[in-house]
């Protein structure tokens, strides 16, 4: 029990239990139906991937506001390049674009010694601008061939009636968990966020660690974009708008402290579940879809205050 309270995902776990209880009791739209659950889990998986990347960056005590635009840009690149490169080719190039975006931003943060908020704010604009300029605002679609391509099915299809995205988020979170808590790099990443000076004094190249975190974050955001488009192969210029807000919310709800060095992978996934469920329920309730934005904002504030209080209660200095 004590371990559970101490783990960073505690708040999110309580949140999910409370939320599911409420949705079970006050059930407007058939919450426990296959249809609802499959939709909610699909969107949760996508958001969780973006939020996991965000969590890595937050653990190093930085923030990445550009994930929504990177998500959109990678997705747009994937679809737009497909006719000339084929599905595997455009997949690789799109992911390379995402990685490059992360690398450029990470380098600007550590080499330019600039606040990550400003750099990634710039990245948010720049990537969104590229989407507009590149597509000219037009809609792109996959050809029927590309839709049935094995790789597209693998990324966007279903297996045993479960969306592929779910398997992918499972694989990614296991890999991330192993990386964070089982490798030297993970140890260094947490140390970088916990206390940069101490990490550096022990010979950790915190600049490399941070750059890597930014690259991983952009890669995951891009991968999430590709998964979305494999499922519904159609782009629009606003793809991924406001996603950075949802991803930060999910990460914060999931117990990532903005003071760095702490986080929980399970918590982040549960955080994404909370964000997506509320969106789904509010829409099902017939509330104007905009209330959902309000709700995420309120949940974000409550979560950050709750997690901070919890951390202080446990004696962490935040």
């Amino acid at each position: 029990m004590k371990y559970l309270v101490r783990s960073q995902g505690f708040g999110a776990t309580i949140g999910v239990i409370a939320m599911l209880a409420v949705f079970t009791v006050i059930d407007f739209s058939g919450w426990w139906t296959i249809q609802t659950l499959s939709n909610v889990t699909q969107f949760t998986a996508i958001l969780a991937l973006v939020a996991l990347g965000q969590a890595l960056v937050i653990m190093t005590k930085e923030i990445d506001l550009s994930v929504g635009s990177i998500y959109g840009l990678t997705g747009v690149a994937f679809i737009t390049l497909e006719p000339s490169l084929g599905v595997p080719g455009s997949l690789v190039v799109a992911l390379l674009i995402a990685a490059a975006a992360g690398f450029i931003q990470g380098t600007a943060v550590v080499k330019g010694e600039l606040p990550s908020m400003i750099v990634t704010l710039g990245g948010l604009f720049a990537a969104r601008g590229i989407i507009y300029v590149w597509t000219g605002g037009s809609v792109h679609n996959f050809s029927p061939d590309a839709r049935t391509h094995a790789l597209t099915r693998l990324l966007g299809g279903e297996l045993f009636g479960v969306e592929a995205a779910l398997y992918w988020v499972g694989i990614v979170s296991v890999l991330l968990a192993i990386m964070l808590w089982g490798t030297r790099f993970g140890n260094r990443l947490l140390a970088t966020g916990g206390s940069r000076e101490s990490a550096e004094s022990r010979g950790v190249r915190t600049d490399h660690v941070k750059t890597t975190a930014f690259v991983l974050c952009s890669l995951l955001a891009g991968f999430a974009g590709i998964l979305t488009l494999c499922n519904q192969p159609q782009t629009h210029v606003t793809l991924g708008e406001n996603m950075e807000l949802e991803a930060i919310s999910a990460a914060v709800i999931g117990g990532c402290l903005l003071t760095g060095g702490r986080g929980s992978i399970l918590g982040v996934i549960l955080g994404a579940l909370i964000v997506v469920s509320f969106r789904y329920q509010l829409i099902a309730l017939g509330a104007p879809s905009s209330w959902y934005i309000t709700f995420v904002g309120a949940v974000l504030i409550v979560a950050v205050i709750f997690n901070q209080k919890l951390a202080r209660f446990l004696g962490h200095s935040v």
Partner: protein, 256 residues
């Protein structure tokens, strides 16, 4: 002595999260006294005076100032009561000029149509005088940002400010850090002068020999507790140093 102590600390406890920083500390400070507060790093002496000057509020216990119980802890209230503190690590804002730092929190104003405008002339005049008195470099003016100053010069500005605004209590936390030998003597002389003017001076240092020469009384803290409280007439510096040593051994044992 028949008078009430100016500051009376009773059974003070302070926790930072789970860390017990002050353990049941009780101590009296009288007006007209120069008290040396001595202890190793982490002994709790800075924490204690940070309670006195209102930065930290105690978890348990009371502080009485001039016989009245202190209900609220804030630096503003302490300063208004006449407690001037020379903090060790804080006190100056790098981005502001010396003159602006000097009067930070109690800026003199000239009212024009009831609107409070800063009285630049007064700010400049007084802070320039103090700068010269404390021998800062010739090319430093009151309008220069503190960022330009060396460690010793910063310390001089802080000391000058405290002396200028002296009221009833002056607390000096390691005042001679960063100072040259000559400046150090100057500061020590100032401490004695202030005491002779009837103020309470609390002088914090880890150098028992330095403060023993100046102080009327020495309070030794160790590991968050008060371990000794003796007048300098009754105990020699060497004897007091032994007390610190013993305290030190206790700490080592706990650490293992």
């Amino acid at each position: 002595m028949t008078q009430n102590p100016l500051i009376q600390v009773k059974n003070l406890d302070l926790y930072f999260g789970a860390f017990h920083a002050l353990k049941n500390v009780s101590v009296d400070f009288n007006a007209g006294e120069l008290i040396g507060l001595v202890g190793d790093n982490g002994a709790g002496k800075t924490t204690l005076i940070r309670v006195l000057c209102g930065i930290h509020a105690p978890t348990k216990g009371d502080v009485f100032f001039d016989g009245k119980k202190v209900e609220k802890f804030h630096p503003k209230l302490a300063i208004d009561q006449g407690i001037e503190t020379i903090q060790q690590s804080v006190g100056l804002c790098d981005n502001l000029s010396i003159a602006r730092n000097f009067y930070l929190g109690r800026e003199p104003v000239k009212r024009i149509l009831g609107i409070p405008f800063l009285d630049f002339a007064k700010m400049r005049e007084k802070s320039s005088r103090v700068i010269r008195q404390f021998g800062l470099r010739e090319n430093v003016s009151a309008d220069d940002e503190v960022e330009r100053l060396s460690g010793g010069e910063r310390q001089s500005v802080k000391i000058g400010r405290a002396v200028e605004f002296k009221n009833r209590v002056v607390i000096m936390d390691e005042p001679t850090n960063h100072l040259s030998v000559r400046e150090r003597e100057h500061v020590n002389e100032l401490a004695v002068q202030l005491k002779e003017q009837g103020l309470l001076v609390i002088y914090i240092t880890h150098d028992i020999f330095q403060v023993h020469k100046l102080a009327d009384r020495i309070v030794i803290m160790e590991n968050g507790e008060k371990v000794a409280d003796a007048s300098t007439d009754s105990m020699s510096a060497e004897a007091l140093e032994d007390v610190i040593r013993q305290g030190g051994r206790v700490v080592e044992k706990e650490a293992v």
